[in-house]
Symmetry: C2
Subunit: 152 residues, 2 copies
C-alpha cells in the first residue's frame, strides 16, 4: 500500500487512456447535462461547437475513472477528496477522441488534526492530436502510514 | 430567450431538488469512480465515511442536471462553460438524501472578442438536514442578445 508519506511532490502519474464514444457522450448528458450540443448530433451541428461534444462534467468523470484505476494500480491509500481548486475545459471533447491524462503532484501537507494527508495534483488531459482539453487542480486525501509499520 | 444582458449580478436561481438513491450512486461510481466507499455498501461501512457515499463527481453531475433543467426552464441562452474556479465537497452525500441547490450570480462580464458573456455563479447544495454538502464557483458562457432585437 502506498501511503501519504510515500507520495512525493514532483511525482508524475501517467493515468492512461480513455476512448470517447458518441453513445457514452449522449448517455451521460441525457442523464446529467441535457443540453442539445451534448445530446442531439443534429442540433449540435448548429451550435457554437459545430457538432456533438462531451459535457465538461463527463470529461471530468472520465478523468476520475482514469485516476481511480491509477489509485487501484498503485495501491494508493485514497480516502476521498475535499474538492477542486480550478478546472478549465480548453477544447471540445468529441466522439472518437482518445483522451490521455497525466498528473503531477504539486503539493502535499499532513492534516493537523487527523492521520491523513492532503495532496494537490495538477492534471492535464490531452486528446489524440495532443491538444489540451482539460486542466484540473484537484485535492486528494490519503491515509498516513500506520505507526506500527513505521516502527517495524 | 434570456440572454447575457438579462442576467443580473445578485440574481438567485433556485435549482430545485434531486433524490439520491443507492442504485444511482453505485451505477455512477461503477463506471466513473470505482472506489469501494462509492460502489460496495459493505466495504463502505469499514471506510472513513461509515457507509456508502456518492462520488463528488456524481454530486457535481446531479447539480449539473438541476442547472440544465433551470437553463431550459428559464430559457437561458447557455452556450457552454469554460470551467470551475473552486469546488468543495463538505459533507457526504448518502442514499436517501434529497439535495436542493441554489445559485447566486456573483459576477458577469462581456467577452472582449466574441458576442458572449461570462457569468460566475456561486452554487450551494444542501441536503434534507440543511447541511451544506457542496459549494461550487462555476463559470458559464451565455449568448448576447442579437443586435436586431436591441434595435427593435
Amino acid at each position: 500500500m502506498k501511503y501519504f508519506e510515500d507520495i512525493a511532490v514532483g511525482e508524475v502519474w501517467n493515468l492512461g487512456r480513455y476512448e470517447v464514444t458518441a453513445e457514452e457522450i449522449m448517455a451521460f448528458a441525457g442523464k446529467y447535462d441535457p443540453q442539445p450540443f451534448h445530446t442531439d448530433p443534429e442540433a449540435a451541428k448548429q451550435s457554437f461547437f459545430g457538432g456533438l461534444i462531451a459535457s465538461g462534467w463527463h470529461t471530468n468523470a472520465m478523468l476520475m475513472r482514469l485516476l481511480a484505476d491509477t489509485i487501484r494500480r498503485q495501491e494508493l491509500a485514497s480516502v476521498g477528496a475535499p474538492g477542486i481548486d480550478r478546472c478549465r475545459w480548453l477544447a471540445p471533447v468529441r466522439p472518437g477522441d482518445t483522451l490521455h491524462a497525466r498528473t503531477t503532484v504539486a503539493a502535499a501537507r499532513r492534516s493537523r488534526s487527523r492521520p491523513y494527508g492532503l495532496v494537490t495534483c495538477h492534471t492535464e488531459v490531452r486528446n489524440q492530436d495532443d491538444a489540451t482539453v482539460c486542466l484540473m487542480e484537484g485535492i486528494g486525501l490519503y491515509a498516513c502510514r500506520p505507526e506500527a509499520e513505521d516502527a517495524a
